[in-house]
């Protein structure tokens, strides 16, 4: 009888000459690829996901992970993933799950956009020697400012400013719940956010007591499962976010598999140990924009109007009208998650086929809010596939106030985007709750790497701003005149509000 009719995707190999039988590969692999056979390491290559933990921890560089050279017959129509998923469904009758953002080859518009630079007629700025401002504020901005004379003849701001989130640079860490990622991974994000003067987002899993000390750098999330939501939690951060949708799984709920619900997660979420944590598809108190307004103001009442309220939605076809409704419902921030955005667990059929990319959605929302004269009423966060500072700069030029980083942040912790987050076996200790794996992720050590990344991107952003001849990130926001499209059709250029290169 066959072991499986699926092909192993990768071949893990150990060079028997180099191997010193130290068994570190056995200990490091969260997937149980390796086991001890008495005199040598045995390999079950069907289990390998190519996360490279064993490779990095082999002291002798004896391990190689190869793409399986055994392939299905080449076919331009029936690709590897079609056949693999079909076989998996024939095995189980289930819905194939997946993790991280879609790996399907849809065009990435960021890669077809180029940024302007100054030559001769306007001077560029040297960011190393001249002041360059990356600081920005998220929240509702007043339509006009009024001043009054204070004692001594000085002018004083009379307009009462709505609550704002101060960001030293236009990045936030995307919502990833305690449950989907480990407490150590959340701590890493919190430590880095505090050091950098930016914010992380709890996602929908409540707030572990260890994260409470980082309250000036936290956005807390309320989603359909209402996990861990109490008055302390609502007031624990600098803002509250209502999660309506997620780019990787628009229109469906959350489903944290029981494998990832040990005692501590069960306690934080107040559900039984080992059950699947279910976040319903809709929030059943929100069936309309009016209902959304009701929850926004319930949260504002519960936080005494001291915190901005953000609403996170997946980018879908009608996103511009939806965002307009969200702003009119009283949201201070609109968070738009494009369809390439990450997830801890989503059915692949949903992840790979529903929603629209962030580039289109962002441009459409920014344009719509401007047309309606309400762009100042809310800040826009763009997310879903920001891979570099260049993507961030392009998103800001398309209208974002800041961008959210999920996968990028996890990659600094060792993630290789293997896409198996839903199994709870992450060998790097990121998307797992197994204590022997989570202990590997030292928050202090990995926060340093994450801080390095954000510093590097901030320097790059300053270089881009300097080349553009502007000295503040807010001068780039919505400045589509500074973008040109390469190889894009006229409809797409029209939606993006961008001219073709050469014009």
């Amino acid at each position: 009888m066959f072991k499986s009719l699926s092909l192993p995707e990768f071949l893990a190999k150990i060079d028997p000459v180099k191997c010193i039988k130290c068994k570190r590969c056995i200990n490091n692999c969260g997937w149980s690829v390796y086991s001890w056979g008495g005199d040598k390491v045995l390999i079950d290559t069907f289990k390998c996901v190519n996360c490279l933990r064993c490779y990095h921890y082999c002291p002798e560089e004896a391990i190689t992970i190869l793409d399986n050279p055994v392939k299905y017959r080449k076919n331009a129509n029936w690709g590897y993933y079609n056949i693999r998923n079909l076989k998996k469904q024939a095995d189980t009758g289930g819905i194939p799950l997946t993790g991280m953002g879609s790996d399907m080859p849809y065009p990435v518009l960021f890669d077809s956009l180029l940024i302007d630079a100054c030559q001769v007629t306007n001077p560029s700025i040297d960011p190393l020697r001249e002041p360059m401002e990356l600081r920005t504020y998220l929240g509702k901005k007043p339509a006009k400012l009024e001043f009054e004379k204070a004692k001594g003849g000085k002018s004083k701001l009379k307009t009462k400013m709505p609550p704002q989130i101060k960001l030293e640079m236009p990045f936030i860490f995307a919502p990833m719940s305690y449950g989907s990622i480990s407490l150590n991974a959340q701590k890493t994000l919190a430590i880095a956010a505090k050091e950098l003067g930016i914010v992380m987002n709890t996602g929908e899993g409540g707030l572990h007591e260890d994260i409470y000390p980082y309250r000036s750098n936290i956005i807390v999330q309320v989603a359909s499962g209402r996990f861990g939501v109490n008055p302390d939690y609502l007031n624990a951060g600098v803002a509250v976010e209502i999660k309506i949708g997620q780019g990787a799984k628009p229109g469906i709920g959350g489903h944290l598999p029981g494998e990832k619900i040990p005692l501590d997660i069960a306690k934080t979420r107040m559900i039984p140990v080992g059950t699947d944590a279910i976040s319903p598809a809709p929030q059943h108190d929100i069936y309309s924009i009016e209902d959304l307004r009701q929850l926004i103001y319930a949260i504002k009442e519960a936080t005494n109007y001291t915190k901005p309220v953000s609403v996170k939605i997946a980018a879908v076809h009608n996103v511009a009208a939806i965002a307009s409704g969200i702003v009119r419902a009283g949201a201070d921030i609109v968070y738009i998650d494009g369809f390439r955005g990450g997830t801890g667990a989503a059915p692949s059929v949903i992840r790979d086929h529903l929603g629209i990319p962030i580039e289109h959605a962002l441009a459409a929302v920014d344009e719509r809010l401007r047309q309606e004269g309400i762009r100042n009423e809310a800040s826009i966060i763009a997310a879903g596939g920001i891979r570099s500072s260049a993507d961030a700069a392009k998103a800001i030029a398309l209208g974002a106030d800041a961008v959210a980083l999920g996968t990028s942040a996890l990659i600094t912790m060792g993630c290789t985007v293997c896409g198996k987050c839903y199994t709870g076996n992450c060998s790097w200790g990121i998307t797992t709750q197994r204590p022997e794996l989570t202990v590997r992720l030292d928050p202090e050590v990995y926060a340093e790497r994450l801080i390095n990344l954000i510093h590097a991107w901030s320097h790059e952003l300053k270089e881009i701003l300097g080349a553009l001849g502007v000295n503040a990130i807010e001068s780039l926001r919505g400045s589509r005149e500074r973008l040109r499209g390469v190889g894009l059709d006229s409809h797409t250029l029209d939606i993006l509000g961008v001219k073709p290169a050469g014009r």
Binding site: K88, Q89, D91, T92, G93, G94, I95, P96, L97, V222, S224, G225, R226, F227, V229, N230, P231, L234, H255, P257, G258, A266, K267, R269, M270, I271, P272, G274, T275, D276, I278, P280, H284, D285, Q294, L295, Y297, A298, I299, E301, A302, T303, N304, P347, Y422, T423
Partner: protein, 245 residues
């Protein structure tokens, strides 16, 4: 005792007054002429008893943590939304989506309740939220329930509609529902089963019902003379086999 006349007051101003009074240590508040104001006692903490005359609006006691509310009349939707602790007593009927994601405390309703009551209630060890409705309930009673306790009494025998709507306990994966007089399996969601009460169940139930009957001046013996049935989930992971890994 502080009395606030809510007539014509915008909800934001009314709730601000209540918050200020409670933060100054006021223990007894009477709200008169309430007429649909939203968010009364939303996010409110500390020990205080607030009596409400008139019909309060949606999201009464949302995120509430501690106070006791007594509503003399009917109440509307989303009462006790994600409530953490405290108690809400409603002498009339109440609307839809009561106790959504409720984490603790009690919701006692004398009359009927609407759709999706007790949806996704939580529970952990001794922190058990409880909703008791004296009348009948709409569809999706106890949907997605992950913990806590829902008790439906159907005390008004002149009301000939079914005691509870369709899809009772659909998606339920924790907690317990008690139905006075039992329920036909055809009303239940696929994820639950109907059981007889054990002696422990009876003791537990009588404890909760004693308090309920005290609140509404009812005779406990009249309430418990009819046999109850217990509805619990058949699995902790109703959707565990839905996915391929």
């Amino acid at each position: 005792m502080l009395t606030i006349d809510a007539k014509g007051i915008y909800y934001r101003d009314l709730n601000q007054k209540v918050r200020e009074a409670v933060s100054k240590g006021e223990k007894e508040i009477l709200l008169k002429n309430v007429n649909g104001q939203y968010y009364i006692a939303t996010g409110l903490r500390n020990e205080a008893t607030i009596t409400i005359e008139g019909v309060p609006g949606n999201d009464l006691a949302a995120f509430m943590d501690g106070p006791t509310l007594i509503v003399k009349d009917n109440a509307q939707d989303n009462i006790g939304n994600t409530m953490n602790s405290g108690k809400v007593i409603i002498h009339g009927n109440a609307g839809d989506v009561l106790g959504y994601g409720m984490r603790g405390g009690k919701l006692h309703i004398r009359g009927n309740v609407g759709y999706r009551v007790g949806i996704h209630m939580k529970g952990y060890k001794k922190q058990i939220p409880v909703i008791i409705a004296g009348g009948k309930a709409g569809d999706f009673f106890g949907e997605y329930m992950a913990g806590g306790m829902l008790i439906l009494l159907g005390l008004d025998s002149s009301d000939k509609r079914p005691l509870v709507g369709d899809y009772l306990g659909t998606g339920m994966h924790g907690g317990t529902i008690f139905i006075r007089g039992g329920v036909d399996k055809k009303f239940c969601g696929a994820e639950v089963s109907v059981h007889e009460l054990t002696d422990d169940d009876r003791t537990l139930l009588e404890g909760y019902l004693t308090e309920y009957c005290n609140d509404f001046k009812l005779n406990l013996l009249d309430v418990i003379k009819v046999e109850f049935k217990k509805i619990i989930p058949t699995s902790l992971r109703p959707y565990g086999n839905l996915y391929a890994y």
